[in-house]
Symmetry: C5
Subunit: 309 residues, 5 copies
Amino acid sequence: MKLTRRVKEILSNYESDNPGTKANLARILMEGRLGGTGKMIILPVDQGFEHGPARSFAANPAGYDPKYHPQLVVDAGLNAYAAPLGMMEAAADVTAGQIPTILKMNSANSLSRTKEGADQAVTANVRDAIRLGCSAIGFTIYPSSDAMYEQYEEIRDLSEEAKEYGLATVIWSYPRGGSLSKEGELAVDIIAYAAHMAALLGAHIIKVKLPTDHLENGEAKKVYQQKEIPISTLADRVRHVMEASFNGRRIVVFSGGAAKGVDSVVEDARAIRDGGGNGSIIGRNSFQRPREDALQLLDTLVKVYQGKA
Amino acid sequence: MKLTRRVKEILSNYESDNPGTKANLARILMEGRLGGTGKMIILPVDQGFEHGPARSFAANPAGYDPKYHPQLVVDAGLNAYAAPLGMMEAAADVTAGQIPTILKMNSANSLSRTKEGADQAVTANVRDAIRLGCSAIGFTIYPSSDAMYEQYEEIRDLSEEAKEYGLATVIWSYPRGGSLSKEGELAVDIIAYAAHMAALLGAHIIKVKLPTDHLENGEAKKVYQQKEIPISTLADRVRHVMEASFNGRRIVVFSGGAAKGVDSVVEDARAIRDGGGNGSIIGRNSFQRPREDALQLLDTLVKVYQGKA
Amino acid sequence: MKLTRRVKEILSNYESDNPGTKANLARILMEGRLGGTGKMIILPVDQGFEHGPARSFAANPAGYDPKYHPQLVVDAGLNAYAAPLGMMEAAADVTAGQIPTILKMNSANSLSRTKEGADQAVTANVRDAIRLGCSAIGFTIYPSSDAMYEQYEEIRDLSEEAKEYGLATVIWSYPRGGSLSKEGELAVDIIAYAAHMAALLGAHIIKVKLPTDHLENGEAKKVYQQKEIPISTLADRVRHVMEASFNGRRIVVFSGGAAKGVDSVVEDARAIRDGGGNGSIIGRNSFQRPREDALQLLDTLVKVYQGKA
Amino acid sequence: MKLTRRVKEILSNYESDNPGTKANLARILMEGRLGGTGKMIILPVDQGFEHGPARSFAANPAGYDPKYHPQLVVDAGLNAYAAPLGMMEAAADVTAGQIPTILKMNSANSLSRTKEGADQAVTANVRDAIRLGCSAIGFTIYPSSDAMYEQYEEIRDLSEEAKEYGLATVIWSYPRGGSLSKEGELAVDIIAYAAHMAALLGAHIIKVKLPTDHLENGEAKKVYQQKEIPISTLADRVRHVMEASFNGRRIVVFSGGAAKGVDSVVEDARAIRDGGGNGSIIGRNSFQRPREDALQLLDTLVKVYQGKA
Amino acid sequence: MKLTRRVKEILSNYESDNPGTKANLARILMEGRLGGTGKMIILPVDQGFEHGPARSFAANPAGYDPKYHPQLVVDAGLNAYAAPLGMMEAAADVTAGQIPTILKMNSANSLSRTKEGADQAVTANVRDAIRLGCSAIGFTIYPSSDAMYEQYEEIRDLSEEAKEYGLATVIWSYPRGGSLSKEGELAVDIIAYAAHMAALLGAHIIKVKLPTDHLENGEAKKVYQQKEIPISTLADRVRHVMEASFNGRRIVVFSGGAAKGVDSVVEDARAIRDGGGNGSIIGRNSFQRPREDALQLLDTLVKVYQGKA
């Protein structure tokens, strides 16, 4: 597999990593129809933990089968598949050698009465990722929650171990909890801060939600206004998040959240592309649609990132 | 021992497991009168921890002897025996080489004043299971309890270690505690969620209680009604739980709870069979009956799963 | 040393143990004047932690010297000596090769203001027992206390390590704390439950207090009355505790508590013997008496267990 | 590289350290324009964690790039660069072989609602420092905070491991929290105590803030007044802090805090020099200025420590 | 170095220890002007942690230098020097080969707002003691405090590791906190209990404060009165503490507390000697005096223990 110039350029930003980790990043960047472009689409399926099986899969019952999802990644030509331990184990013969995988290491669930964002359970070990042939580990942090520092210390150890084994680290950085307002969870200053902290924690790939133009923190608001940091369009805000992610030296993908209309998803992707983001991580919007609809949507998204739509 | 086609089919769902773990699953699936059918009956004896010796064994004092129970498994032609550390140690010469065993790793007890479902003590290590020649470890989780995340992290480590040693993992998934209502503990949406989370945690065999047609969670209720998921008969609900367990790719056995009439137990088994469940885990309903009565009941259950009753 | 038939019979109940552990159990069972009979008397000296030096030893100041106690074991022909780390270290030349020893691993003390039964400090490691040439570790659990589950997890690890090294495990099982009434601490249903849980936790030798005929737990009371379990005499209750201890497959010794009259101590021993118990663990009643009185009392107890008194 | 007499003299104070640690201290002391003088200026960039990206770097957007900062260290001829994990990883090719680096091991952030000083997250391991070729680890303690003892135990283990690997330990000692008044955070008795505790914890290099002449602790106040310890000028107070740091046997650098005027920064440096301090650690005052301004300010500071300004 | 008969006699009490630990005890017992007599004076300098630098050293500013103290031990001909990590590191060339050292492993400090006696930070590891060539580790416990059990478990592990490496264990046993009255901290029943527990925890050398004739515990009081244990003179009380310390089989040294008059210190030493105690541990009373005064006082104390004053 010959790496493209663009992928080599991206890899050159990971100058401290060992060849194993670089190879795994390259695998993700070279996979599928966006392979070699520096753009990527990742399919994450961790809704089963979050909302239970019926709320996740009844809309498209084929999704109850753990083999459905990685096959969708193969067929749609996406870059990687992310899932928790059991899902990954149950589809090992689909993923092995076919597509890069990201073992999702922690999860919350809706049966918990701990306040939203309070914590997650770490449900896999790095050695699980190794035996399952994964390319990366995935971990969610909740910046601003009361569990934040504990989560940072968990990913510190998991990530150090992963890097030693030549795996990459993907951090889902979702501000919530603590003294943050509901609106603040998507505020551009907070999302940029969340992306920056994921970078500081040593993430190779950062996943954040698309930010609004709300500014949450008083001190930060002054700076944004005084320095006239452009945040009025979604593309502006994506650009700012990339800046906050080591000036674009880290891969950042954006999520769309709950299932919604095709136009809206496509529009988001165009803004990500125009703002210099690296791509989309798109779960419910793909697996909760019938397979043909999902393939069509994903085809459109691929074209957006190819600059053809 | 030549595996049947059905057992090979079931084993093929465990594609990520090492040969040791597959062999131990095969041992359980090939043991006894249901050996080779893909169906199974397991005898668990952990009531001593839960309710104390007299409440567990006075009804049938032969049960005070730890050798009584595995001998019952042998004589009734069941698939496996599950018990805590001390019980397993004290009957090692009965089980060794004769029947597959599952070391029950955690237990609650009725002397505790922590609220029901709050927690359990982990009373054995994986190395104990190894030295006792067990085929699997067994672990109880209480989805929705405040101890849920901690329990998920305990089974994560135990299960990873067990799989490394070639043992299988059996998860007892009993929703309780937290904000769950008493009725909700058996609600079909909650039981399906509990089975799904056990699968996500990497269980090879899942044990849940038989669900009622109650729907506990408001968001889930909408989905069940909108998608018209059939839950009116017990067989329907068993079928839904199997679907939630990776579309049947994981072995699921159902428990009956407190000792009750023979007809009721047999009726339950027929529903499990008709819904595509893998079998029964039946404790108090066997060891609290006189030995001859127990053997007769177990004989009937075997026949149900053989399709002869 | 040729084992007696009775000792071989007892050892045969420990079928999962390695030769090292069996040898250490044999050493305890073959030591002293009761050696070979299957009966035993153990001298425990952990009062210093519990009540301080003056309350423990001023009654018989010779006891301030850590060498006094193991010498008493030698001279009275008892089976084993149990003590905390420092006591054991300071008398290593008396015990080494002369008598089997049990390193007491945890202790409470009366300066603590945590509620009685709330917890104990673990004051020794298994490696200490190894370097001190001990035959067993000893550990106290408080069934029903709020620290119960944590204590079960502590003894799980200590006992697993001890068994790996060929040591035996002795569990002091003292119900207290939590929602238990003061009277309930000695209730026969609770003592039987406590003995049963010690057996489930993997104890080779169980130590409980002599039970009264009180029944504490409502559900249990129904069973005792309905099944007409005999509990009216002390020998009946000892017999029931033995039944709860894997139907007599585990060694159980009984303690007498605070120093009291000779007749009372001897009467207790007769009931233990008649109920099928394995013997006495007798601390303050021996070391708080002048040496000659203690030797005389111990001689009488030995004769009781020999069936000569 | 031939060490100067002054550097050899300083190194001789670290008589318990292994050659690896001494070599790393020597690297820091010999680097840049102050190399060999015993004085040093360190550039720390951990504001991203503390205040987020925009508040840290919008004033001088070049700073969003992690390579900007170590290049500034090279170009200004400073002694060392300190940063958290991700920043250090992303600039590994700038630092490797060019400048000594200090991996900042823990950080607080302004999204946390735990009270100021309550705690920090440890976001890197010593093995990270090793693989990144760092010369030292950096760790913040909050003397007087409720997290103080836990922090002391964290740095105990990190520092022991670092020393074993031949790395040096830098402790940021910032009194705050607990019963300390806001004014007390800079009180000279408290800053001297904080420096002394960092020395007792085994720090090679201590970083404290410049103290005021406030005296916080009643008992200490009596001693300062009775013994007439000079604290009226800033140079006096620096001298006292050096005394409290093992009579000058430990390297102590002082920080200036928030960005402020050039004159003020230079005046501080003169006091540090005149009081016998080892130098400045200067973050926001350098990287929040445009590069040319920063280089000019740093040039002046270098000259102050060279005795030329 | 030929051991005296008295030292051999003392060493014979440590019959479970390995030759390494015995050698280190011998080093302490044979060092200085009291070498060989079985008596000892130890200089501890951990006041910097407890009260800060000015309150500790302004009275005699030479003490700011970590090399001052071990040199005082050399010059006064004392037996050993005890200090925390940083102090010990900074004077390694003074101590190495010249005097036995005790690494103080834990410390409280007066900036903490946790209640007195609530806890201490463990600020060194046993491996630090090894690399610094120490003869022993030193550890403070607070019997009766709420942190007591946790402290017992800390010293359990540290001491086991130290003994494995051939180091000795010194326990500072200071009753405080919990339900203890202020007067009770020095009550003779409590001090004897504290010394006894230190012995039970495996200490080779025990340090307690000199007790008053107050009796704190009601149950204990009855015993002291009934058994007429002599406690009216200080020498009586020292004798009782020695009895509580395994009948004199453990080395016990006594501390004097805050700096006070020469006569008072000397009088204390005579009582320690007359009561059979092993010596003094004397900190502030030596290093807070001018060097010449301290040497004179220490000379007098040496003579007291030599029976010449």
